[in-house]
Subunit: 184 residues, 2 copies
DNA sequence: GTCCGCATGTAAGGCGTTACATGATTAA
DNA sequence: TTAATCATGTAACGCCTTACATGCGGAC
């Protein structure tokens, strides 16, 4: 149920955003406050400590003082080491474990991976993602078939919700593959 | 982004399971290990402390020593107070906040609510759930329409994944309403 | 000259995670 | 009698949450 890498979901989100473009902590806060990325966070109490950790790991470097105003602000940009770590993290294969417990992380990885690891690996990610989901859906259906008679009706419906969610994800992934291949 | 009630996701899962039938900690572990409820946990390091907290809150009571064997085991059952708290928790209206940040909790609530709060409220829950999702989907689409030109292709796809997931949930809820109404 | 937004934080607390620990009972 | 399973935990750690704190700059 764990990450095995030093990258929490929030850290990954932050690192990914900074990889797209240097950002200050406040910039990041605004992204989280004003876009659906807000799904991953959150409050200054999480963002600033996470930034600090990422900086201390040497993955980003903060530059003070530039910009139009003389106002105190720290602009963080990705280091070479940070790019390497991010690339490694985004290149990890999709595991069955990921699909069961870390769908959020997987989608975050997908959202950032294309410019970092290349189109080829992005497509491989989507194929693996869809296949892993198929396997898990098969498991879930097997379980449901065996248990549906002893389950309360709403328990069964809740489980069907989960299954349909996974199926939708597999369909989405296959459509995404088509799209990325057609106009790349 | 918080629960505002003393019921964490895991605590709710445990309380719900015990409400269906008295359970020992080990029984709960087995449920989490062998069924899709495992999505919510987890390890003894989480279950036993959670059980302890729930017991100290007076929501469950542990009985030692009965059963066929003389083996040390504690069977927990819901107290009157626990049933009341659970009913209150399950009766809470669906908020926009819930839909954005606590889909897991919502599904868990749905899975347990029918026997506790009655069919009428369960159906109301599903209607509110679907309506809240519709509203959120509209927000997301508005955002996507405005931003899709400046988003990287995979960022857009990731966001479409989220939107489609929500749409699937609304459809599921409306089908569930039909099912529950048709043979109740 | 005051208020709001920019910009960055800290402190306390809660809870889940991993890993380890312990002893009793049953099946081989 | 040895191993697996039953059954219950503890300890250290990490990270997020809520709430609070601070100080500058521009607009009016």
């Amino acid at each position: 149920m764990a990450q095995e890498t030093g990258l929490s979901t929030l850290s990954l989100a932050i690192l990914g955003l900074i990889s797209q473009q240097p950002q200050t902590g406040y910039d990041l806060r605004k992204v989280f406050l004003t876009t659906p990325m807000g799904h991953f966070s959150s409050s200054p109490g999480a963002i600033y400590p996470a930034l600090r950790r990422i900086e201390q790991a040497g993955w980003v470097r903060g530059r003070t003082g530039q910009g139009k105003t003389r106002r105190q602000r720290v602009l963080y940009e990705l280091t070479a080491k940070g790019r390497k770590v991010l690339k490694q993290h985004l290149s990890r294969p999709v595991t069955g474990d990921d699909v069961v417990w870390h769908m959020d992380d997987l989608m975050l990885r997908f959202g950032f991976m294309d410019p970092i690891v290349g189109r080829e690996r992005t497509l491989r990610f989507l194929r693996d993602f869809a296949d892993r989901i198929d396997a898990y859906v098969a498991d879930l259906r097997r379980y449901l078939d065996g248990a549906k008679d002893v389950m309360p009706p709403c328990g069964r419906l809740a489980m069907e919700n989960g299954i349909q969610g996974y199926e939708m994800n597999a369909q989405w992934a296959r459509r995404a593959i088509q799209e990325l291949q057609s106009h790349s």
